[in-house]
């Protein structure tokens, strides 16, 4: 049996897990808390571990298959013969989708195990794991589909799971008595809808142009049409292909800004931290938010054709460049916003926005491999950081719990917030494992040699330095900002003295939570080896491009799934390609910036704040206002009212006056009402009823006449009998005669 035919299991396993928990989970937990939690939690976890094992099998199959893609048809999905429309549910097993599968199911497994400990005792224990498995299910559909439509199913599905999990504790009230968690979930949903709308329109355009939604035919067709300079017909209008693709790629960018939280739709991600911490780690750091990057890398051919053709948007900028700029600006500004956050998870949230900006910028510059590389390493260290922060919060909550029930006089409620870094401090002595692993993750995020983040960020910076200097400058500054807020967070959480009794009484989390931290820390240390320039370059030299040797660099591995790279080799496209290498100047500079950022944080925050109500040292410097105000006011003064006005116009003018009033009320409703009136007043009451009532009247009148003979007098009947007898007699006499 071909091992590729195992592929549907990656979808079926999480589906089985979620069905089991949805149907039986809550019953088991209700029946016996202790056993029930163990059963439901482990069923969900083992299903994801199973999906990971299948992914590894697929990885090995691909290696032995020489990296060429394999399609596993599952069933026919939508077939409309008249429109020549056919979408099959087919899994595309290529190096890119398997990479994503490995990340999703691998990191997903670790976070599931962590959640077993983190969610212990929650009143909705089984519901959590149902949603979690549902997320894995949709995420694997997203990455394994062979068409944009299948990707969109997963895309919408993970959005739904994101909503469900952000507002998981929807009933909890915040300090102002509002259901902030539910609001955050709604916000994420709405922001994502804006992006999804872009993806939908882009898909319509693609279908109109190419008559299919499958990746491979679209890319092949696009290249063929581009080489032949063919036009695309829209009714009476015909547009050159690059113009159409500019629209498609721009709309895809809109989807990316929604899903991957880029400017201008990034604002939902920080609010999404309302969800449980494992959710933040899995969905809002490691996997779902990278779906946008996956979409960019998947659509590489479309972007590269636009870049090659020189088609400009509004005569200003080509869409790939716009992608790069959006990513770079997001990386920079989100990093600045992270400076001012006091919530341990909010810092990580803005950091995620910023790191996603790096990936999007890389994809926009054509550095697809570097984008994927950073996606993977970021999944490792950001999941590690989020899980670490969850462990810290867990420890702080237990510390607070202890003092509330102790009798040392610190028990009164003073607005304590277990996520607020100002209440922490000195935790490195209380939580050894969490501290060491968090330190590794933080240094990787800052880009310190030789952790994973250094290598992947360096690839992006090197590419930017080679091809687009302004973006290189912005990204370099963003990298320095990253190091600064990482340093600030480390100092505030783990160093100095405890600033609150809860921090004094905090203690280490259970092994179920710390073990995934250790594994992720290991991956963070070793992750850079995936694509280390020295090793892989040497390997590539020895064995050619498709090396099957012992060492496999990410670049050689992913390249067969990025058609643009191959097309560049054939000379069809001129990709601004940078083979993996290391430039000592760039690497040195990025190290210098990282160390500089950390040192700056050390200088400013050493031993600060001393107490939890001391104002932030940065709040007195102008950089604070400069970094925060423009974005917020831009957002509140221009984007929000503009969007409101557009929405109001659409609602009142278009939907209200044209669509509802004219088309619905006048045309559709009035026609229908007059037809209904005719049917009821004329056809029914006069035609049908007249027939029925008429026959009844005839019968009634006739029987009225007949009734007169029935007098009730015996005499009458006797006379009738007599006359009858006489009549018979006369008849017989006459007949005889």
């Amino acid at each position: 049996m071909n091992t590729f035919s195992l592929a549907p299991l990656i979808i079926y396993l999480p589906l089985a897990g979620l069905l089991f928990n949805a149907l039986f989970g809550w019953r088991i937990v209700d029946a016996d808390r202790e056993v029930g939690e163990r059963v439901t939690g482990w069923v969900a976890t083992l299903m994801v571990v199973g999906a990971f094992i299948v992914s590894v099998t697929l990885f090995l199959s691909l290696v032995s298959n020489g990296f060429s893609a394999w399609f596993v048809p599952m069933f026919k999905w939508i077939v409309i013969p008249s429109a020549n429309f056919e979408v099959n549910w087919t899994l595309q097993i290529d190096t890119l989708s398997v990479t994503m599968m490995l990340v999703v199911s691998g990191v997903g497994s670790l976070i599931h195990i962590y959640a077993l400990g983190y969610m212990k005792g929650d009143m909705d224990y089984s519901r959590f794991f149902v949603y979690f498995n549902l997320f894995i299910f949709f995420m694997l559909i997203l990455v394994s589909g062979s068409s944009y439509l299948m990707m969109f199913v997963g895309w919408e599905g993970v959005g739904l799971c994101s909503y469900l999990l952000i507002s998981f504790w929807w009933y909890r009230l915040d300090k102002e008595g509002k259901t902030a968690n539910a609001t955050a979930g709604r916000k994420a949903m709405v922001m994502n809808r804006i992006g999804d709308f872009g993806v939908l329109i882009a898909m319509f355009l693609l279908f109109w142009t190419f008559g299919t939604l499958d990746y491979k035919p679209i890319f092949d067709g696009a290249v063929k049409m581009f080489e032949a300079n063919q036009m695309v017909q829209f009714g009476g209008m015909s547009l050159p292909l690059p113009t159409v693709l500019t629209a498609v790629t721009l709309l895809f960018l809109l989807g990316v800004t929604g899903k991957s939280a880029q400017i201008p739709l990034y604002t939902w991600l920080p609010d999404a931290m309302a969800g449980p911490t494992p959710v933040s780690a899995l969905i809002h750091a490691a996997t779902m938010v990278t779906a946008g990057v996956y979409l960019l890398v998947r659509s590489d051919v479309l972007y590269e054709i636009v870049r090659q053709s020189g088609a400009l948007l509004l005569g200003l900028i080509s869409t790939p460049d716009l992608v790069a700029w959006v990513g770079a600006l997001t990386a920079f500004f989100a990093g600045l916003i992270a400076f001012s956050q006091n919530d341990i998870k909010k810092v990580l949230a803005y950091s995620t926005v910023s790191q996603l900006g790096f990936m999007v910028a890389a994809a926009g510059m054509g550095a697809y491999v570097a984008a994927m590389f950073h996606l993977i390493t970021h999944a490792f260290f950001k999941a590690l950081l989020f899980l670490g922060s969850g462990s810290v919060i867990h420890g702080m909550e237990h510390g607070h719990h202890e003092i509330s029930h102790g009798h040392d006089g610190h028990g009164e409620d003073d607005g304590f917030d277990p996520q607020d870094m100002r209440y922490m401090g000195g935790l490195r002595h209380k939580m050894r494992v969490t501290y060491v692993t968090y330190l590794i993750g933080a240094l990787a995020l800052a880009g310190i040699f030789p952790l994973a983040g250094f290598w992947s960020k360096d690839e992006i910076l090197l590419h930017a330095q080679t091809h687009q200097t302004p973006i290189f400058i912005i990204l370099a500054l963003a990298a320095m900002g990253t190091a600064f807020y990482v340093g600030r967070q480390l100092i505030m959480v783990f160093f100095g003295q405890p600033r609150h009794a809860a921090a004094e009484h905090a203690h280490e989390s259970p092994a179920l939570m710390t073990r995934p931290l250790v594994v992720l820390a290991g991956l963070t240390v070793l992750g850079g080896l995936l694509n280390v320039p020295y090793l892989s370059a040497a390997a590539a030299e020895r064995a050619g491009m498709h090396a099957k040797g012992f060492w496999l660099a990410l670049e050689q591995w992913v390249a067969p799934s990025i058609p643009a790279l191959e097309l560049a080799e054939e000379g069809v496209l001129h990709l601004p390609h940078t083979p993996i290498s290391v430039s000592y100047a760039v690497a040195g500079l990025s190290m210098l910036l990282a160390v500089g950022g950390l040192a700056l944080a050390y200088l400013i925050y050493r031993g600060r704040p001393k107490t939890y109500d001391e104002p932030d040292r940065l709040s007195r410097t102008p950089i604070w206002w400069w970094s925060i105000l423009p974005l917020n006011s831009l957002h509140m003064k221009i984007l929000v009212p503009g969007f409101n006005r557009m929405a109001a116009w659409l609602a009142f003018k278009f939907d209200g006056e044209f669509w509802s009033d004219f088309l619905h009320d006048r045309v559709l409703r009035d026609t229908f009402v007059s037809f209904a009136d005719f049917s009821s007043d004329v056809l029914d009451s006069q035609g049908v009823d007249g027939l029925v009532n008429g026959s009844a009247t005839v019968v009634r009148r006739l029987s009225g006449l007949l009734r007169l003979t029935q007098t009730g007098y015996v005499r009458t009947y006797a006379l009738a009998v007599f006359l009858g007898a006489v009549g018979l007699l006369v008849y017989f006499l006459l007949a005889a005669g």
Binding site: L706, L708, Q710, T711, G712, Y713, V714, R715, A718, F722
Partner: protein, 103 residues
Amino acid sequence: MPSVVDINWYIALSGILFVIGVLGVLLRRNAIIVFMSIELMLNSANLLFVAFARHLGSLHGQVLVFFVITVAAAEVAVGLALIVAIFRTKKSINIDEINILKG
């Protein structure tokens, strides 16, 4: 030897009796009278049976008369019982007042 009365006289008498019976049924209001008129019609028929039996020298007609007398006796029993029952409820035997089966 008694004189033999011609059969035509019997037929005529029977006819007269029958017509009296019919007219009694059709014209009288009193239920007893109506009842008696019916008896009269039966007996006119009996008379005709017996007369023809004698005339033809056959016993069939006389046997049939016995059946008629038997049936008439039963009819009288039922009919008088009905009249008594009607009189008990309506305090009258005027058949013009008995028309509740009017259509």
